[in-house]
Every structure is written in structure tokens, then in C-alpha cells.
Symmetry: C2
Subunit: 238 residues, 2 copies
Amino acid sequence: MNMQTKNVNTHLTEIKDYFKVAISVDCVIFGFDNDELKVLLIESDLKEYRGKWSLLGDIVRPDEDLENAAYRVLLERTGLENVYMQQVHAFGALNRHPAGRVVSVAYYSLVNVEHIELKLLNNDLHWHPVKDILQKDMAFDHKDILNTCLERLRQQIIEQPVGFNLLPRKFTLRDLQNLYEAILDVKLDRRNFRKKFFAMDVLIDLNEEEEEVRHRPAKLYGFNAERYSQQKKKSLGF
Amino acid sequence: MNMQTKNVNTHLTEIKDYFKVAISVDCVIFGFDNDELKVLLIESDLKEYRGKWSLLGDIVRPDEDLENAAYRVLLERTGLENVYMQQVHAFGALNRHPAGRVVSVAYYSLVNVEHIELKLLNNDLHWHPVKDILQKDMAFDHKDILNTCLERLRQQIIEQPVGFNLLPRKFTLRDLQNLYEAILDVKLDRRNFRKKFFAMDVLIDLNEEEEEVRHRPAKLYGFNAERYSQQKKKSLGF
DNA sequence: CCAAAAGTGTTGCCTGTACACCCATGT
DNA sequence: ACATGGGTGTACAGGCAACACTTTTGG
């Protein structure tokens, strides 16, 4: 075998290897319930990760782009469409997947848990408090992915009011503040918090109140999506 | 043309029978010269993009992770190691590559143009003012990638003093300000700019001055990398 | 001595933060 | 009536932005 041929063959083999990779998406689906930030997980079906929790993901199909794949996973698993979703990071460590080379693109999304609950029954999905799950092992490098997405979420909600996506259509200011306190793991001043959001001018006063609470009922607000998009640039700066 | 020097893009076409999906990295290499933000590009060798400019990228090999691939591209093309680099976004549109499905992970890096100049001679790389290149067509979706990375860079330098990576080891405050003004495309107040950076405490007074200028010479400063890492969290907030 | 850019402080404003009392409801 | 959380305003401090004159060098 002469040098030239050898080089060519070697190279072709290597080139073929280049295509033995797969692309997947992993979705970090955040919800907010019971004043806790939660994440939607499934038990891993790989024997290597028996009993460990896994994010929702799938291989990207030849006929769909990355975003489509992420939305598809979300739709298949939760039945939800038109959800807030954002690409966060690509994870490509060599041995991150036991079956071979799989590069995964992580997305995080924010959903209203109430919209999902019914569908959970036919499914093996479960909401987990993020604080708890971070103490445990997860499948693959999903702990890394979760941490990275959580970090991004924290950064995001102090820059833009994306937190609304986690709340029901009607909510109280206390709900909103609990959300921020849970995600950022801080205590915030009630008066200053209100001032900030009223100044942002993204709340719609629905002229309704809570009911069945044993204290003064709080007013209910909605989220003004139109004003939100105008105000994207403003920082919240906690 | 022998096999060794052939470009990967050519291989893609040749072996399209085996084709499934490939992962590549694309590097947006920023430099700062002549008071302009520049980006390092190469002329595309694909006939589809004849005469158009392309980012520096390559297929990710089976034995390297994403970051390694990006550093390899940088090393091969510029001879530089230990460069500031950051992953920005994964691009996976269906038809972004004419030879087939290639998902590309974009990285941006900041280099000191002086460290590269000599090596450019043996190469078909060229620095382009970012402002100019954004007016022109680019190969693939590289304009998107460039825009996304530029946006990230802008965000980054107002949060952390990463701009130092674009400057020589010794620089004046005017250099630093020019850098910020060029990247952010704004005019900044000289006194406030100085105050801000002195307060940040990341500048080392080298007790040296410019020479051969026909006006009062400016003092030269260095960058205190140690203090920088402590102060990462502080915002600059322009 | 002229041109050109370097260097230097103060003030007002705006934003963030700390903080305490009265109000409406259910029990 | 009481317990519980809802709703509200003010004062202080720190950070940001606006602004003009003197200094040093080369020509």
C-alpha cells in the first residue's frame, strides 16, 4: 500500500466517523407550583441509569431543525404548544451518552403547571422541586444541563419579565413575588417589588380579587404581553 | 489537490451516500485594530458561495469535544492558544449547509491582532471590519452567526471587562475607551469612563507613557487578571 | 506659541433600599 | 375581636450622567 492510498483510506474512514454522531435536544421544562420552582423529569429507560431522573429529550430528526425538535418533544410530552422556550447551550462531551456520540442542544422552557396536570396521568412524567433534584444523581450529564439552564433562567428573569410564563393567567402580586423569591433564592421587599412592577407597566389590573382566603383578598392581575415586548430592554436589576 | 489538504466541505459532497448528520464548530474571531472591531474570515471554497466570506470552522472529530474542536480551529488558523472563547449558540436550520445536514455550534473569541499578524501572510485569512462585512453577503448562515456573536459580545463587555483580550498587553485608557465605543457603537464620557475603570480596580499602572505622539503622552496600563476574576459579578452598566 | 489629546472633580438626578402602619376578610 | 396577609409612602444613600479647565508634549 503506498502512502497516498493509505492516506486516502484513512481519511475516508475518519470522514465516515464524522457522521456517526447524533444530535439531540434536551428540554428543561420549568414550572412553578406550591411556591417552588419545579422541573419536569422522566425516569431514565437506559439500564446504565436505572432509577435516575432524566430530562425530556429526543434525537433530532433529519427533517426538522433544532427548535422544531424541541417543540416536538414538548408537545409530545405535555400537549403544550406556544410555550416560552429558549436555547441555552450545546453539550458535546465525548462520553456523555453511553450509546455513542450524541451532541445535545439544551432548551429551557417555562410552562404553567395547571395546563399540564391532566395529561400527566397517562404518563411517567413527574414534577420535581429543583432544589431537591439538584441534591440527587441524574442520568447522563443532565445535572449539568439543569444547572446551566437554571443559571440562565435566573439571569433572564432579572433582565426581562419572563416569569409570567410560569404563572396562571390571573395572579396576585404575592404570587409573582414568591416566584421571584423561589427562583432567585432571595427575600425581596414587598413594597419595592410592587413599585418595580407597576413602574414596568406590564401588569393589567383585572378588577378582580382572590376569594376564599381568610385575610384581605389580593387583587388579581394579568400580564400585558404587548407592553412587555416594548420593554424588553429594561433591566429589573435586583 | 491531494486528500490531505482538501477541505472538509469537499468531503461532504463526496461521501454523501453515508451522510446523516455532522457537527461542526464555527469560530467568530474578533480583533480590534485601527479603532475598529474586526472579524477574521476566509473566502469560501464552496462553489455555491464563490467569492463570499466565511467564518473559520470545521467538522468536530469523533475524538474531540466541542470546545476542543473550536480551540483546534483557532490554533490551526491563528497559531494562538489560551484565547478567550465562549460558546454562543447552536445553529441547526435544515438547509444551512448545501452538502447536507450540518449542525454548527458557534463560538466567539477575542484575540489581540498583533499576535496574529505574522501568520496571516501564509494564509488566506483576512481581517474585516465588522461594520463592513455586515453590509455584504456571507457564506452559509454565517451572517446570522456573526450577528448573534456580536450581540453576545456587546452584552458581555458591559457585564464583564472581557475587552482586555482584544488589546495589547500595554494600552492607554483612550485605547480602552475606543474599544468600548467601537463595539457598542456609542460615545462615552471620558471622565466617567475613567472613573468606572479605576473604581473597578482591574487596571495596573505601568508607570510608562506613550511615545512619539504630538500631544501630551498618555499613561500605559495593564490588566489585572486576578482582580478581574474576583469582580466578574459586578456590572458595568453603560 | 499653537495644536492636540491627557488628565482631573463637582453637582444634580435618578434609582434602589430600608422601613411601619392601616385595611379587608374569614373565623 | 383577632389573626392573617394586602396595600401604601417617605427618606436616605449610592451610582450615573453632565459638564470645563489646566497640563504636557511635538511641531
